[in-house]
């Protein structure tokens, strides 16, 4: 069920990108979609009652180099977290580039409205 709410969030973002005419609104829609996918990825790795994938000193035996079974059996999945870390940085990068294009366009046209841009280009 939380997955479905995530999909709903994704669809809200998609709706915003498709319908809205304001450049900043479109950027906001893209950000919402990115949040939805990131949340979905992390949820995939979640274990009910799990612990974070960071090994504590008490869970490690230096002599035998063994990790306590309590950690192995309850840790959440570290791989999706690594993927989400990557995807957050990617979305920050594309946000920076998109906002630069928006500001530059605003300076040229004096508006954020994409239908106006088409009219001005004429």
């Amino acid at each position: 069920m939380p997955y479905a709410l995530c999909l709903l969030l994704f669809m809200i973002g998609l709706y915003c990108v498709v319908v809205k005419k304001n450049m900043v609104k479109i950027v906001i829609g893209i950000m919402v979609m990115e949040y939805a996918v990131n949340l979905f990825l992390v949820m995939l790795g979640f274990n009910a009652g799990g612990i974070a994938p960071i090994i504590d000193k008490t869970q490690y035996d230096p002599q035998t180099q063994q990790i306590a079974a309590s950690f192995i059996n309850s840790s959440v999945d570290p791989l999706p977290q690594a993927l989400v870390l990557t995807s957050i940085v990617i979305s920050l990068g594309s946000l920076a580039l998109m906002i630069s294009i928006c500001t530059r366009t605003y300076e040229k046209y004096g508006t954020f409205d994409i239908t106006e841009l088409r009219r001005l280009k004429g």
Partner: protein, 147 residues
């Protein structure tokens, strides 16, 4: 922009040191505690952004000119790529963790190249994010000057 009031300036000159140290801590201990190069780099960048908001652009530009931050950006990325290539020379394969045998588990010096990569990434991320916010604000000043 000449910066904000005296209260803001005083407080941020205190806080900036703390933020900067916290960023460095997050970067260096990234392989033991939550955090790492990216989070730490963003915190480093935000300490400079705070200075820029409080004291104005000219102050920051004196301390960290654009050219230098752009070079730091390239340098961090280059250092991270170099770690990969050093892995090739020492271990025979790209990204080989050639230092993994050194150090004790849970020590600050452990996990081979991971802390080094964290530092390189922290440098790169901090410099580049500072650069983008700075160029956005400079751009705005230029356009308003033109008007």
């Amino acid at each position: 922009m000449k910066g904000m009031t005296v209260i803001v300036k005083t407080i941020s000159s205190w806080v900036k040191v703390l933020i900067f140290l916290f960023g460095i801590y997050i970067v260096i201990f990234g392989h033991l505690t939550p955090g790492g190069g990216f989070a730490g780099g963003v915190i480093l960048a935000s300490s400079y952004v705070l200075l820029m908001l409080a004291f104005g652009r000219e102050f920051v530009q004196k301390n960290l000119p654009l050219g230098i931050s752009s070079k730091l950006d390239c340098l961090g990325a280059f250092a991270f790529a170099m770690i990969a290539i050093l892995g090739f020379f020492y271990g025979g394969i790209f990204f080989c963790n050639f230092l993994v045998e050194r150090g004790q588990a849970f020590g600050l010096i452990s996990a081979g190249t991971i802390p080094l990569s964290n530092i390189a990434i922290g440098l790169k991320v901090g410099a580049s994010l500072f650069l983008v916010i700075f160029s956005l604000s400079i751009f705005r000043r230029n356009t308003s000057a033109n008007k």
